[in-house]
Amino acid sequence: MQVSRSRARSVRFTFALTLAIFLGGMLVYTTFSAASPERFADQLVRHAEPDQTYRVGGRVVPGSVSRPGGILKFRMARPGRTDGVTIAVSYAGTVPDTFRAGRDIIIDVKKTPGAAKDVFEGQGNTLLTKCPSKFNGEDMNPDTGPVDKQSAAEKAAKASGE
């Protein structure tokens, strides 16, 4: 009786282990198949497959943002790079409130068919910016000069009774 119980236990263990390995293998395989490679803008300009979705991280180039017809268009570059290599992105999904020129973003893109090598289309609703809880002093006023010490407009608004 004791032997059969121990044997039953080892059969159960072998079955569970096999199942776990099988499911784990499936998880690993499908994840690698479904994952999007992460790139910076300059890496995408060098090489991008036409049908591949890439997750690209970078900084929105100041002065490059426009919204013609409700489509967000901007250029992005690798943070800290000064060689001027950027990609152009057009995006029709949800734009987070914290999206601004000069800020770091993450977005899934695909190469635009037939367009120049630096032109990409943003996918779905994939544009991510930093959570509001992660802002600090420098982020709140990107590319600015000294902070004004007066509040002329506030006084003016008060004076005008707005």
């Binding site: 998880l27 994952a35 999007s36 959570c131 002093g137 000069g145 608004a157 707005e162």
Partner: protein
């Protein structure tokens, strides 16, 4: 004040190290007799030091004193007092200080309330808790210094992001941290139980209330964060599978698992290795969550860029993981099970539910860390989408909901198939009817949602059945009738019925999640005045016009400029209610970059959504004005203002500036501009929040059950009275 703050933190660090070492020596039976009491007093002193330091930091924020770098970065003169009080935990330094204070607080409560009950375990637990306190105090002394000051204070600080000025965001982080730090108690006592070789049920019984309270607080924190995301952020969702969201979900899931299987250990002496592993995993996942938020190791909306606190966290987590595995292996003989689990039994359902939860934990953990894993394996970082997470989470969620209904139907020990079939009859019938009704109403386009309807309806009916059975039993025993019988049955076993309520809440919540994601309609278009978009159920939304106004704060300063989009909802072609989502621009202080007029239109901007909630569906609408046109007009007006303002006196210039701002707004509105409208029609979102509230009520009901220790005291007192009264004649 900053010197005092720094001194308090250094003292907290020293006392934590001393206390931890003393407790460890005392646990090993060495040192003088007063070593353990000294370690306990060290903990109390650490609490006093951390509390003192936190109060000093709060004073600096409330004043506000911009000499402090963290105050200057997270508060401003215009930040309302309530948000200045909450601002410390918007910063890295303040968050870690809050962690230390809450850890010291929960540890003190645990050590004081459990003193003398777990004599062999307590010294080890105290050593672990003080080790954790030493770690956080060390971070505050060497890496993230809250009392860092500069000689010259800026005139004003940066202030909180407008998106964080939302009431629930004031308590969301403290609730999460309270959950994390409370989980440190069962973690520390688990380590203590292993180290002392006391792996029976005692330490579980005594720390279960801490685990349940931690589970509740962490859960409330998660749901408040989701609600903020839905109601305040302009994307219309409540869960994004972001690494930091996942980090808070993981310990909640493992805790859900062990809160079930510790009952199996209490009743049957089974699953000891499983339970201790889950308790230790939960503690480690809490640290991992804090590491993810604070280190910036994974790119997410919560973590851009690196910080210096990552490596110390990794060392701590790695060390505690090695210690945990080592202790479990060392005590494997003591942890051996005392029996077997029959297939048809409540404990087998608990175990299956645990497996579903752990599969979900593995999937979420794997997906979250996949960028690091793939980079380590292939040399190229890759990441998975939210769809990947949703696809993998769905089977586990279905299994968890179904098992929530199945488990209460089965007895402890071996059950009988006939009795089970009888018990499952009504829930199965109701669930089948619910599926037929849902398919008729919403179609069969989403089979997964229909399976969730079946599972949720089954579980809800099973829970109702349990309440009715409880009432019937009570009636048979005491003659109580109807609702009174049910209420008294619930009052008599609050822990059990609280658990059933949690199951009902979870089924409701996940059903609502399935419905709102499978059957929602999202429309995003740029509209001109008079244009409409079609939504589900014969509804349309028409864009009528844009309005603009200046909003002043209570000091008559410009708080924001609001552009509201006036929309009309049409039902079956007939005009119904008006809705007014708005987009608000907060002034930036960057006057040099944008000019005196432009700075009012180029600071932070936020969407204030219009949300119409009905019992069956939500209409969520956000709007964005034509920002390019606003900025162009602001630049134009700004140039004109700068040309003439230099020759004017201050008063006249101020008046002209006000007119110029008003001119930008009125000029833009007068053009009948287009607006980007994002409308989401989702069924059942209200029930996500109702389900969460039911879960919270269930957990509170469970917690209201007198503790085991108190029950034992009462039983002993009754026994004593019984002995004194003598045998009944």
């Amino acid at each position: 004040m900053d010197v005092v703050g720094r001194a308090l933190l250094i003292l907290a660090l020293g006392l934590s190290i001393f206390g931890s070492a003393s407790a460890l020596v005392a646990a090993r039976g060495g040192g003088p007799a007063g070593l353990l009491p000294a370690a306990r007093r060290s903990l109390y002193a650490v609490l006093a030091m951390a509390f003192g330091a936190f109060v000093l930091l709060e004073i600096a924020f409330v004043k506000p004193d911009f000499h402090y770098a963290t105050v200057a970065a997270h508060a401003s003169l215009t930040t309302p007092l309530g948000y200045r009080i909450a601002a410390p935990w918007a910063s890295q330094e303040g968050s870690l200080l809050l962690w230390l204070m809450l850890l010291a607080f929960t540890s003190t409560i645990a050590i004081r309330s459990l003193r003398g009950r777990l004599r062999d375990v307590e010294p080890y637990a105290l050593a672990v808790l003080l080790l954790l306190a030493a770690f956080f105090a060390g971070l505050l002394v060497f890496a993230a210094k809250p009392f860092e000051t500069s000689a010259i204070a800026p005139d004003d600080g940066v202030g909180l992001s407008p998106l964080l000025r939302y009431p629930t965001m004031m308590i969301h982080p403290p609730l999460l941290y309270s959950g994390y730090t409370l989980f440190a108690v069962p973690f520390a006592f688990g380590i203590g139980a292993l180290a002392a070789g006391r792996v029976g049920g005692d330490w579980i019984v005594h720390t279960r209330r801490y685990a349940l309270t931690a589970w509740l607080l962490l859960g409330v924190g998660i749901i408040l964060g989701s609600r903020w995301s839905y109601a305040e952020l302009g994307w219309g969702g409540y869960w994004a599978w972001d690494p930091v969201e996942n980090a808070s979900l993981l310990p909640w899931l493992t805790a859900t698992a062990f809160l079930h299987t510790i009952v199996v250990q209490e009743r049957r002496g089974l699953l000891k290795t499983w339970n201790i592993s889950l308790v230790l995993a939960t503690g480690l996942l809490c640290l991992l969550g804090t590491f993810l938020v604070r280190s910036g190791v994974l790119s997410s909306i919560h973590a851009f860029g690196q910080s210096t606190v990552g490596p110390p966290f990794l060392i701590l987590i790695g060390g505690l993981l090695a210690l945990s595995i080592g202790l479990v292996l060392r005590r494997r003989t003591l942890l051996a099970p005392e029996g077997e689990i029959p297939l048809l039994s409540r404990e087998s359902m608990f175990l299956l539910g645990n497996l579903a939860l752990i599969v979900l934990v593995v999937v979420v953990l794997w997906g979250t860390f996949f960028p690091l894993i793939s980079e380590a394996i292939t040399g190229e970082a890759s990441s998975v989408s939210t769809t990947w997470f949703s696809n993998y989470a769905t089977p586990s969620a279905l299994a968890i909901v179904a098992l929530s209904g199945l488990a209460p139907m089965l007895p402890w020990g071996r059950g009988r198939w006939t009795a089970f079939g009888k018990a499952a009859l009504w829930p199965t019938a109701v669930a089948a009817l619910a599926v037929v009704g849902s398919a008729a109403a919403a179609g069969t386009g989403s089979p997964v949602a229909l399976v969730m309807v079946f599972a949720a309806a089954f579980t809800l009916t099973a829970v109702v059945r349990e309440f009715l059975l409880g009432g019937r039993t009570r009636r048979a025993l005491s003659g109580d009738r109807g609702p009174v019988a049910i209420a008294r049955a619930v009052a008599g076993n609050r822990r059990r019925f609280g658990g059933y309520l949690v199951h009902a809440g979870l089924a409701t919540l996940l059903l609502a999640v399935a419905a709102s994601t499978a059957f929602d309609t999202t429309v995003q278009r740029q509209l001109k005045p008079g244009e409409r978009v079609d939504l589900a159920g014969g509804r349309q939304v028409e864009y009528e016009r844009t309005t603009g106004r200046i909003v002043l704060d209570k000091f008559d300063r410009v708080e924001k400029i609001e552009f509201a989009t006036i929309l009309r909802v049409y039902r079956d072609g007939k005009p119904a209610e008006e809705i007014r989502p708005s987009h608000d621009f907060y002034p930036t202080r960057a006057i040099v970059a944008y000019g005196p007029v432009g700075r009012f239109f180029q600071g932070e901007d936020t969407s204030e959504i219009a949300l119409h909630t009905k019992w069956d569906r939500d209409l969520w609408v956000a709007s964005t004005p034509d920002q390019d046109a606003i900025v162009a007009r602001a630049k134009e007006v700004n140039d004109g203002f700068v040309k003439v303002a230099t020759d004017l006196d201050d008063k006249t210039a101020s008046a002209l500036l006000a007119q110029s701002i008003r001119g930008v707004i009125d000029g833009y509105v007068a053009t009948n501009p287009p607006a980007i409208v994002r409308a989401i029609d989702s069924p059942g979102v209200l029930w996500v929040w109702i389900g969460a509230i039911v879960m919270i009520l269930g957990a509170l009901l469970s917690l209201s059950q007198p503790s085991v220790a108190r029950s034992r005291q009462r039983a002993a007192a009754l026994a004593r009275i019984g002995r004194e009264l003598g045998p009944a004649s």
